[in-house]
């Protein structure tokens, strides 16, 4: 055991509630002692669930261990606490890229670049992801013109291809009418009833945040014993409700809602 790890271990034993776990877990990670690092980091997250640093550290350790789902959850928790945390945005962007979602990866890396313009690794990653996004649009090498594109038709629902796309998304217009999606409650379709309650919610949220000097609103997260509801505004006149049970952590519901909101915006634009 190296001196620094020994000293940090003693310090943490003397003061279990101190933040020494951050340094100790990082030192263990750097030495490749990932299981020990993970144990220390999990203990820290347990003691400090509101500390974004702790979730970020745990995410990096889990990523090193190859537990990408766990890393995603931990980075999502860090972003819920600190939405512009560059390291977590980079991490989530990397995971989206690995999962084949280059558009979501690009979005997260662009936000990471805004959050930390001095990090030289972000422009490199951005270039790589942009190349992936452009790949399908490269001209054909033999000089023959590409076939004419088929007329663009918007898909039947904006949520195809999004996790759980068939259920738990509800896109509502400013008058409380359902535009797309479905929501079930007690075995019945509750979409129209819920949509009616959401009429004007975007205006009300905008009014509240304006009067309180908080600027434009982004989202409303609602927790209950039965699960999470997450509201976002894909456009000024629409609201998207994402509903999930507790099996998905709230921070991940937020990320899912972000993707669904981008898809809904594109779908609305395609509808004209």
């Amino acid at each position: 055991m190296s001196e620094d790890i020994r000293a940090l271990t003693v310090r943490l034993a003397d003061e279990p509630s101190s933040l020494a776990f951050l340094e100790l877990a990082e030192a263990l990670r750097r030495r490749g002692q990932l299981d020990a690092a993970c144990k220390v980091a999990r203990g820290g997250v347990g003691r400090y669930p509101g500390l974004a640093d702790a979730h970020d550290l745990l995410a990096r350790i889990l990523s090193d261990q190859g537990d990408l789902a766990g890393a995603f959850d931990a980075w999502s928790a860090a972003l819920q606490l600190d939405p512009m945390r560059a390291a977590a945005l980079k991490g989530v962007g990397f995971l989206y890229f690995r999962a084949g979602d280059a558009v979501a990866a690009l979005d997260h890396l662009q936000r990471a670049a805004q959050a930390d313009p001095d990090d030289p690794s972000i422009p490199t990653a951005l270039e790589r992801v942009r190349a992936e996004v452009r790949r399908d649009h490269v001209p054909r090498p033999n000089g023959t013109p590409p076939p004419p594109p088929e007329p663009a038709r918007p898909p039947a629902t904006p949520f195809d291809g999004i996790e759980g796309g068939g259920q738990g998304f509800l896109l509502v217009d400013g008058n409380g009418l359902r535009l797309s999606g479905s929501l079930r409650a007690s075995g019945e379709d509750a979409g129209d009833r819920v949509a009616a309650q959401l009429a004007g919610v975007s205006r009300e949220a905008a009014r509240a945040t304006r009067i309180l000097g908080l600027g434009p609103w982004h989202s409303i997260a609602v927790e209950s014993a039965d699960g999470h509801l997450f509201l976002a505004a894909p456009t000024a006149d629409t609201v998207l409700l994402t509903a999930r049970d507790h099996s998905l952590p709230l921070a991940r519901v937020g990320l899912l809602a972000e993707r669904a909101s981008r898809a809904a915006k594109a779908w609305l634009e395609a509808m004209g």
Binding site: V194, A205, A208, T209, I211, L212, G213, P216, D226
Partner: protein, 114 residues
Amino acid sequence: MNERDLLDRVTRVPGVRGALLVAAADGLVVAEQLMDGVDGRAAAALAGSMMGRLMRTAQQAGHRRPSFVHLRADAGSMLAAPGPDDLLLVAVTSPDANVGLARLEMIDAAGRLG
């Protein structure tokens, strides 16, 4: 624990600009501890109205009463945790606030109301 102690716990969280207890049904302030620049009466009325709508929405979606609400905006957040007797604990935060810690304190404090 009295109302002042409960509000103290919430306003001690870094980035919380103020906290108040609201009678949810009529949106009136019961107790408040706010920094300058936060309009308590407006926050109470807006939070009461928003919470009423979100409770109806949750009910129609088959969910029980919300335990916590986070309205996130460019320059900060409004947080709300319903307590017993129609009371609502509300906080206004800056964008760099520790929302995770504020959430835990508010849910716990709201449970001690009444």
